[in-house]
């Protein structure tokens, strides 16, 4: 049965039209997001070039906001490709923040114990979300909507019952010298910015206690987390066996089960990842602000889902891209901060959100038809 490379030059099928390189490049989940990024940058380069938006501190500003969206978008993206939603992301952000602040400030645990506990609880709640979805067979939309309320309510209740406030401050003082707190609140590459400032690329403070230091202190760990999560998420999805299982679980769970894919395990793990990402963001915010607020993370679940959809993922699962979701988050961050730089009324941001969401979904539907050849 030796068949020496019959595949090297397969016969041409006259019914299959050759795909042009352009059309091939078009059929990518990220296409919509790439177009969006180009448009958004062109727009703001046009109207806000002189506002400092594209100076180093401006870039850091919208980069940081984009990174916040990106962190939760990575979790939401992989979960959506696996065929499920998590609407409890925003409440999880508030919840994890309060857990950290409460344990460290109120109860005096070292901050690293507080952080690790918050992650452990979040992963457990993520697993519970997944377990309930699998066991009850209910749509994840409903199950996680329940947790949206349960977690938010618990967060406010616990904060008020223990401290009579919904904001717990003073985390910065207890985080001093902690072995892992810098992983979330620190800044890196500060040497680079000193050097850039000496070259005159980055401005320096001219007065005040920090005169002579560069205005940009360093790259916040939040952005590093975003980049690391995007890269790992992308490789996991496109280059590993587990990634194939994520696609399969969302594409057709029953077909995947019949060939032995552990669909339930994949889905539960993705719920846990979503909770993990929410807690990463919560921890970074607590470290940055030095406080936790019970109402933090409101509506974040929708912003994550919108980023993912702009990035080309299908709401029905089985198709999407982490890179696309990250670009969606970038569009988000640039527009939200860009409107501020351009001096535009910020309520217009929501108008923009709605419009771009619609456009993205329409474009994605069209791309899917091209891929599957349905008419």
């Amino acid at each position: 049965m030796a068949e020496p490379h019959t595949t090297a030059a397969p016969e041409k099928d006259e019914r299959v039209r050759e795909m042009s390189a352009v059309r091939k490049a078009l059929i990518r989940p990220e296409l919509g997001a790439i177009c969006g990024v180009v448009l958004v940058f062109m727009f703001f380069l046009g109207i806000a070039r002189d506002s400092g938006m594209f100076a180093p501190e401006g870039i850091l500003n919208w980069g940081n906001v984009s990174a916040q969206f990106a962190i939760i978008a990575v979790g939401a993206c992989l979960l959506m490709i696996a065929g499920e939603f998590d609407l409890s992301v925003g409440s999880m952000i508030g919840f994890s923040g309060i857990v950290i602040a409460l344990m460290s400030v109120q109860w005096g645990f070292p901050i690293w114990v507080a952080i690790l506990t918050a992650f452990a609880i979040a992963l457990a709640i993520g697993a519970l979300n997944g377990y309930l979805v699998i066991k009850t067979g209910l749509p994840s939309f409903i199950v996680t909507l329940a947790f949206l309320y349960i977690l938010r309510g618990l967060t406010i209740f616990i904060a008020i019952a223990t401290t009579r406030k919904t904001i717990i401050g003073g985390v910065k003082d207890v985080a001093e010298g902690d072995p892992i707190a810098w992983l979330f609140g620190g800044k890196v590459f500060s040497g680079l910015f000193v050097w850039l400032a000496d070259l005159g690329i980055v401005g320096k403070f001219v007065a005040g206690p920090r005169a002579g230091q560069p205005v940009v202190e360093g790259v916040p760990m939040l952005m590093i987390w975003a980049i690391v999560l995007i890269v790992i998420g992308h490789i996991l999805l496109t280059r590993t066996r587990f990634g194939n299982w994520i696609f399969a679980a969302g594409g057709d769970a029953q077909a995947a089960r019949y060939v032995g894919v552990p669909v339930n395990r994949v889905k539960i793990l993705m719920f846990m990842l979503s909770a993990f990402c929410a807690t990463v963001l919560a921890t970074c915010q607590v470290m940055e602000f030095g406080s936790a607020a019970a109402d933090r993370g409101m509506l974040k679940e929708f912003e994550a889902i919108i980023s993912v959809v702009i990035g080309g993922a299908l709401l029905t699962g089985g198709y999407g891209s982490v890179i696309g979701a990250a670009l969606g988050a970038l569009i988000f961050g640039v527009v939200q901060q860009g409107l501020f730089f351009a001096g535009v009324e910020s309520s217009l941001f929501r108008v923009f959100l709605g419009v771009i969401l619609l456009l993205a979904v329409i474009l994605n539907t069209y791309i899917r038809r091209m891929i599957t050849g349905e008419r």
């Binding site: 490789i235 590993t240 077909a255 032995g260 050849g373």
Partner: protein
């Protein structure tokens, strides 16, 4: 006479008060195509689901190469060499042919401490296996959704064959297909049979069954009406058996023998 690859003896399956199968016996030998015919509701689906480990039989036994076996899950049946290609659940349209072909059994290569999906190997084997079955792919990362129904069935069949199926169960592979695609799938069944795999071909189309079948078993109301060798029975007799005789014979008369 070679011993059958798989033998199902007096299989009964009850769902609560409903008796779906009431004593079905079928055996499949290596290299034969055993057609299982029956009208809607005859119990074909329940029977193959019992065979492939989705349902557990209420009574009766399954013998695999002479030894009694019990399948507690589709996975267990698969590991014993029983592969099932379901009509509508064979493939995931949005995923590429390679991703579908290897789903659940992805080859991996190690890079440092990490393991990655070995796409170069997977793509090459997929293209070769597809070519063997006569399907010319534009590229292995083509989405399955771009393939025709017959081609999808063929991808699923060649996947089962590549992963070492001894018994291949095909659940109405031709029922939704056009003439040309049907003959492609029937040709594929013939190729598979020649490799020494036992094929169970479920259909309610007598002509498709006659085209490739070596033996024919007719199910009616949860019972086997008997098994016939090729040449012992003709299409009209099969048709009559499936429909339960009488009424159809009358109908057929009035329709001028067109069914």
């Amino acid at each position: 006479m070679t011993a059958p690859l798989i033998e199902l003896v007096d299989i009964e399956k009850h769902f609560g008060p409903v008796i779906a199968l009431n004593g079905v016996s079928v055996s499949v030998k290596a290299g034969e195509c055993h057609c299982l015919l029956g009208d809607n509701g005859a119990g074909k689906s329940t029977f193959i689901k019992t065979m492939s480990g989705v349902h557990k039989q209420t009574a009766g036994k399954i013998l695999m190469e002479g030894k009694e076996v019990n399948f507690n899950s589709p996975r267990a049946a698969m590991e014993a060499g029983i592969a099932t290609v379901y009509q509508d659940l064979a493939m995931i349209p949005l995923m590429s042919v390679t991703r579908n072909f290897w789903m659940g059994r992805e080859p991996q290569k190690r890079v440092g401490p990490f393991k990655f999906f070995d796409f170069s190997e997977a793509n090459e084997i997929t293209m070769t296996e597809m070519a063997k079955m006569g399907i010319r792919l534009r590229s292995p990362d083509q989405a399955v959704g771009t393939l025709s129904g017959g081609e999808r069935q063929t991808v699923a069949i060649s996947r089962a064959v590549y992963f070492g199926a001894k018994v291949l169960i095909l659940d109405e592979p031709t029922s939704a297909l056009g003439v040309r695609q049907t003959s492609n799938v029937l040709a594929t069944i013939d190729k598979v049979r020649k490799k020494g795999i036992g094929v169970v071909f479920i259909t309610h189309n007598v002509r498709h069954a006659m085209a490739v079948g070596d033996r024919f078993t007719v199910l009616n109301r949860g019972k086997t009406l008997g098994t016939a060798e090729r040449g012992e029975i003709n299409a009209e007799e099969l048709q009559d058996l499936m429909a339960g005789g009488q009424e159809l014979a009358e109908l057929e008369g009035s329709l001028g023998g067109t069914i």
